[in-house]
Symmetry: C2
Subunit: 110 residues, 2 copies
């Protein structure tokens, strides 16, 4: 989702957390929201997002609700119960990752 390889692996966490907070969103809306929140620093490509949404749905973490808006279908995604649990897990893993990066990259010069 950028030239930056660091974002690799973080997309599911971002999507699940957004849905956790907003209730339900559709794919295109997620890309807009992430750009807005990060002031354009993180751009999620559709080639990354849609397969991820399908994967999360296949895993039973998301459910879908199709609505027709302006004569076009929108697929609204929302968390299942398992999705809510997994969101907590992934947020904890992210916290752990950032803490480990902190001790590695900002060592207390003993």
């Amino acid at each position: 989702m950028q030239k930056n390889q660091l974002y690799k692996g973080s997309l599911s966490t971002i999507v699940l957390k957004l849905l956790n907070d907003k209730g339900k969103m559709y794919g295109y809306q997620i890309t807009r929201e992430v750009e807005k929140i990060t002031t354009g620093e993180l751009v999620i490509t559709e080639g990354a997002l849609y397969p991820t949404l399908h994967k999360l749905e296949a895993k039973g973490l998301l459910s879908v609700e199709i609505k027709k808006v302006n004569n076009r279908p929108r697929k609204y995604y929302f968390l299942t119960e398992n999705g809510k649990k997994e969101t907590v897990n992934l947020l904890n893993e992210m916290k752990s990752f950032i803490q480990n990066m902190d001790v590695l990259l900002n060592p207390k010069l003993a």
Copy 2:
């Protein structure tokens, strides 16, 4: 380097930053040091590390110095000038990544 996909993409940054601080290290030593610093939370596999060291060397970011210790060869790696510059860049990218994760995952509920 774990079950956790989040670490994907961070290995080069970790290696360069370690070499930046310690001056020079050899591969096996890097794996020990990272485990020690993270109290065993992050284990760098050799299948990930050695190809990364070779890649960084091929890019001109690292140089090698082979020393024989206990009748066995050790390859000590150290930063080139370009390696020092790239370390700064990668640390800045990591900082930016963590900041973006912060605004995405810990929203100030407006």
